[in-house]
């Protein structure tokens, strides 16, 4: 399959130049040197080619051979992806460990998808059916409960001439025969798809269903729609990874693709060791049974880091095509951008801002545009939602990656160092964040909860921005100088901040809030505000409201009332009524 296409003439880190055949294609996958390291052609000029190598090049010499494969860099798609952990170019890390031990060696080659494992397969087409690309030929049970819908490669079409009976098959076994024109070909459950090419769909649908994450600040305040794109920028230690992990754990997507791109090894290990033991609240199965992990940690080869994002998004699109909702986390897109910069620097390209190549914005746009809620070729609907972490140097959001990212996302969750320092988690700053999906998902909330979520949410935001204005004054003159009505606002916003926005990912009850619980909490806090404000307006001293025993109970409700006992919010509301009425009565005397 591979033939000699050139001899190496120059090596610098992950970039290699070679001279040879003019028949090599741009972005063709090549094997570099006698160790046959994976590489990709990223530049051609006459008989010169430039190759980025996805493995460590130390020890490589000029004069070594480059072998062409005639194929673009592709991923293997088929049953067996779920529960896998791959590096940036889809090499299965557990097999590498079995073969070469705890450290990653160069040149280790394995099939991305297990060829021996048999899957329980049921055909959904019959002989004589006309099928086109994307059509579902049958289903294989990828886990006990997860149905892997085996699709025809989007580029194929024809008439089914033979169908394998229901049974157990490997990904190499023929499950159908397809005749198109005069040719008949065997169809298996395995297909390859070039990572840099988006998988086709019919058209985009409106993104108007929120991706529910169980995180109050996200769902209630800054929701992202299924098929939408969100960015989480934040300085180090502000909780990007914890937020990404929380979303990966709790998001109501059917498949999660988690890309650890240039981040810590221990973090990926944490996911690997934790997810098999965490139970998905919807399916009742371990979270790992809906997760695909791509781990290209910070010390793994930098070019493979660049590829990891594409590997991940292609896998996500593949499950989308089956009609699933997929959520993809990329942690961190800044490390991916740095990989681009590093390779660009080695190519001595003219840098734009801060050394990044001029095509940075274009690449970011391409990536985020692969998110979407779409009508698939086979008539089903599916979505890919992207949540990209951004790590701006010095926490400065004016740097190129954050700025360009902002142009291509519609939901921005700004992490804040000072909130993190005060251990207010998730440290998402409510004044700097925004979501453009608010109006789009309003209907969903109304149908789901019967309540006017958007009005309540906007009311709470109004109070929070009022708080920010008031706290400027408090800083200058102290809270005592404020009229009671304004101090009432501060009392309520304290409840919003501590009771609603703060959420403890490590506490069982608090880690996940159902939509119903979220709206009840919001309602309760606003109710407290209206009642309190009425009393205060009649001149009741604010400290009496501050000292009401129910205040503490409202703050603790997030961890004392589970998602199953929402009735307790009624009791809390009664307590508010009782205590406020008593206060009101006392004051009137």
């Amino acid at each position: 399959m591979s033939n000699e296409v050139g001899k190496i003439t120059w090596i610098s880190g992950p970039v290699v130049r070679a001279r040879g055949s003019k028949n090599v294609g741009m972005l063709e996958l090549v094997e570099v040197g006698e160790d046959r390291l994976v590489g990709e052609v990223i530049g051609l000029k006459g008989d010169q080619m430039t190759v980025q190598v996805y493995e460590e090049t130390a020890g490589m010499q000029t004069g070594e051979t480059i072998y062409g494969t005639g194929l673009p860099l592709s991923v293997e798609l088929g049953p067996g992806l779920i529960q896998s952990i791959y590096d940036g170019v889809q090499r299965p890390l557990p097999l590498i460990e079995q073969a070469v031990g705890s450290f990653i060696n160069r040149g280790a080659r394995f099939d991305s998808i297990n060829r021996e494992k048999k899957w329980k397969y049921t055909p959904k087409v019959k002989v004589g059916d006309e099928v086109k690309g994307g059509d579902i030929l049958g289903v294989a049970m990828e886990t006990d409960t997860f149905e892997h819908r085996v699709m025809l490669n989007p580029d194929d079409s024809g008439t089914i001439t033979w169908v394998a009976p229901a049974g157990e098959y490997t990904v190499n076994d023929t499950i159908a025969k397809l005749k198109s024109g005069k040719e008949e070909k065997n169809v298996t459950m395995l297909q390859r798809w070039p990572v840099r090419r988006a998988r086709p769909f019919v058209n985009r649908r409106g993104a108007n269903i929120p991706l529910i994450t169980g995180q109050r600040i996200l769902d209630t305040f800054f929701p992202v729609a299924k098929g939408g794109a969100a960015g989480i920028p934040g300085p180090f230690g502000s909780g990007k990874t914890v937020t990404q992990h929380s979303i990966a754990k709790w998001a109501d997507a059917e498949v999660i693709v988690y890309i650890g791109c240039g981040e810590r090894g221990n973090e990926m290990t944490e996911v690997l060791q934790e997810f098999p033991h965490l139970i998905d609240p919807r399916s009742g199965r371990p979270l790992m049974e809906r997760t695909v992990l791509i781990a290209n940690t910070s010390n793994m080869p930098v070019a493979a880091r660049e590829a990891s994002i594409y590997t991940g998004i292609t896998i996500a699109e593949y499950y989308r095509d089956m009609g699933y909702h997929v959520a993809l986390m990329a942690d961190s897109t800044s490390r991916w951008a740095e990989a681009l910069r590093e390779v660009s620097g080695r190519l001595e390209e003219m840098p734009a801002e801060e050394g990044y190549p001029a095509y940075l914005a274009g690449r970011l746009a391409e990536f985020y545009e692969r998110a979407g809620y779409v009508n698939n070729l086979n008539g089903s609907q599916g979505s890919v939602s992207i949540v990209g972490a951004v790590s701006p140097p010095g926490g400065d959001f004016s740097e190129p990656v954050t700025q360009h990212t902002k142009r291509f996302i519609r939901c921005f969750w700004a992490l804040d160092k000072s909130l993190a320092s005060a251990r207010h988690f998730p440290a998402i700053n409510w004044l700097d964040s925004y979501s453009e999906y608010l109006e789009d998902v309003g209907n969903w909330w109304r149908e789901k909860t019967g309540k006017d979520w958007l009005t309540m949410r906007n009311r709470a935001m109004e109070l929070l921005s009022e708080e920010s204005r008031l706290s400027q004054i408090v800083k200058l003159v102290g809270p005592d100088a404020l009229p009671f009505t304004e101090r009432m606002v501060l009392e309520t916003t304290r409840l919003i901040r501590e009771g609603l926005l703060q959420q403890n990912a490590t506490e069982t009850v608090d880690a996940y809030s159902s939509v119903e619980k979220q709206i009840r909490m919001l309602e309760l806090v606003l109710y407290f505000h209206e009642r309190g404000m009425a009393i205060v307006k009649r001149g009741a001293p604010i400290n009496l409201i501050h000292d009401l025993p129910v205040v503490d109970k409202i703050i603790r409700a997030k961890s004392t009332i589970t998602n199953e006992e929402l009735g307790k919010f009624e009791d809390l509301q009664k307590e508010i009524d009782e205590q406020m009425s008593q206060l009101d009565a006392e004051y009137r005397q």
């Binding site: 020890g59 230690g237 221990n266 140097p393 251990r423 005592d480």
Partner: protein
């Protein structure tokens, strides 16, 4: 490095260009990327270098000892055909080496036939064990609120003139395997210590040596010294040599290894110097675009793996230029490491030791090494409460500086009192004071008891019932 181990290679006489520590050698065939070279100057003196870039016609070589005294015609370069390797052996504990791993304590070459590539190889994430065992350092600001775990990388961010060396020495001296609060304190397993100095003054290296001697640890310390007057380019290799030995001790000999790297800022500058000479496109402040990946290739050599009992815990020390935490060195370090301990000048002026500024400090792994069965059940919430209260103290202080302390509300006055006590009793401790985890928790509760119960929303009510010692009658 033992010369006997080096296989012969091709030799080229004369170089094409010399610029700073970089040399361009022409006319060598089949040079490998990252290969080690041996350079002989006109007087026959040997020095070492490494290939940074190769093409058919030339190789770019970085000279570790710098190019002083090298001439175009009088220099010969021998390509050794392999990447840089150092010997590794258990007997290297108790010894002192230069920045490239050659003994400088007058002792013999380490007796071993085991050599390891200084670049190491990335640990497969599936082969790692997630860190869960805490290290008791006896320092409240670490054990209590920024707990260090075995297999974690936790840097000290400091500034010139602050006692980061003392703090590192105290950590090294007191570190033992953590026990659950109330469990009998047994003699902890001892750590092997690998110490790498990059561009620090001789006094600093000497301070650590004395400190190791006094605590009787010297026999389990290996020191790799590249001092301020040693060639800067060697600094690129020093931490790699140290970590290579650490990996051998941890993953092949099953030891628990504590690695202290000081000062990472000097390392970064050496890297910047090479990058500048090579004319690479700089990113921020002239540092190369690959600074993140390069630092990661050091910091990520920390952790535990499934096939070994041992662990590597890293404590890099980094002085922030101009105390600026957004400078690329602390910034990129903070993104890679699992938290940071930040020393503050204000506390230092106030005579508080260790001057750990608690709010920007963080241990990312803390949540997994504390709590029930590890330290004590209330520990996570207790820590969050201390943080929240101390953060509030800062706001109150800002307010007090405007309106005066007398004008503060009663509760705010209590916060001020809490803040002062927190710094004097919790943060502050003697250089020789080794606090148990119980003691640290006890001090914390005593301080929280200054505040009204109603303010303590991070801890739960049972815990308040059990540990709160204040006189506050309301609830």
């Amino acid at each position: 490095m033992s010369e006997a181990k080096v296989l012969g290679g091709q030799e080229v006489v004369g170089v094409g260009r010399i610029e700073g520590p970089i040399m361009v050698v022409e006319g060598a065939a089949n040079v490998s990327y990252d290969e080690v070279v041996e350079i002989k100057d006109s007087r026959g003196q040997l020095r070492r270098g490494r290939v940074l870039e190769v093409s058919e016609n030339f190789a770019v070589v970085q000279v570790f000892a710098g190019s002083t005294g090298l001439s175009i015609d009088g220099t010969s370069v021998r390509f050794l055909g392999n990447t840089l390797h150092i010997p590794v052996a258990e007997e290297m504990l108790g010894r002192i080496f230069d920045g490239l791993g050659n003994p400088i304590d007058g002792g013999p070459e380490p007796l071993t036939d085991k050599y390891a590539d200084v670049n190491g190889q990335p640990i497969n994430p599936t082969a790692r064990i997630y860190p869960r065992d805490y290290i008791q350092t006896g320092i409240s600001t670490i054990d209590g609120v920024n707990t260090l775990l075995r297999g974690q990388k936790l840097p000290l961010f400091s500034g010139a003139g602050m006692p980061h060396d003392q703090l590192a020495a105290q950590i090294v001296r007191q570190a033992t395997l953590g026990k659950e609060a109330g469990a009998p304190q047994t003699e902890g397993e001892e750590f092997a210590i690998v110490f790498a100095a990059m561009g620090v003054k001789n006094d600093v290296a000497d301070y650590f040596r004395r400190s190791f001697t006094e605590s009787g640890a010297l026999t389990r310390v290996a020191m790799f010294l590249n001092l301020a007057d040693d060639p800067p380019v060697e600094r690129i290799v020093t931490p790699r040599a140290a970590l290579t030995l650490a990996e051998y001790l941890a993953y092949e000999k099953g030891m628990h290894v504590l690695v202290v790297l000081t000062d990472m800022t000097n390392y970064g500058e050496a890297l910047r110097q090479i990058s500048n000479v090579r004319g690479e496109v700089p990113s921020r402040k002239g540092y190369p675009g690959y600074l993140y990946s390069d630092l990661a290739s050091l910091y990520e050599r920390t952790g535990r793996i499934r096939t070994s009992e041992g662990s590597i815990t890293q404590i890099p020390i980094l002085t922030m230029p101009n105390d600026d935490i957004t400078h690329p060195m602390p910034d990129l370090t903070g993104y890679i490491t699992e938290g940071q301990i930040v020393l503050g000048r204000e506390l230092n002026f106030a005579g508080i030791y260790p001057p750990v500024t608690v709010l920007p400090s963080l241990s990312r792994l803390m949540k997994d090494g504390i709590g029930k069965g590890r330290t004590r059940d209330d520990h996570p919430r207790w820590g969050a409460q201390l943080y929240a209260a101390y953060a509030r103290t800062q706001d109150v202080r800002a307010l007090a500086s405007v309106i005066g302390e007398e004008e503060l509300s009663e509760v705010d006055q209590k916060y001020l009192k809490f803040g002062r006590a927190f710094e004097r009793e919790f943060v502050n401790q003697a250089f020789t004071e080794n606090r148990t985890i119980e003691r640290t928790l006890e001090i914390g509760w005593k301080l929280l008891s200054i505040l009204p119960k109603k303010e303590l929303t991070r801890v739960n009510l049972d815990e308040i019932e059990k540990y709160y010692t204040g006189t506050d009658a309301t609830n």
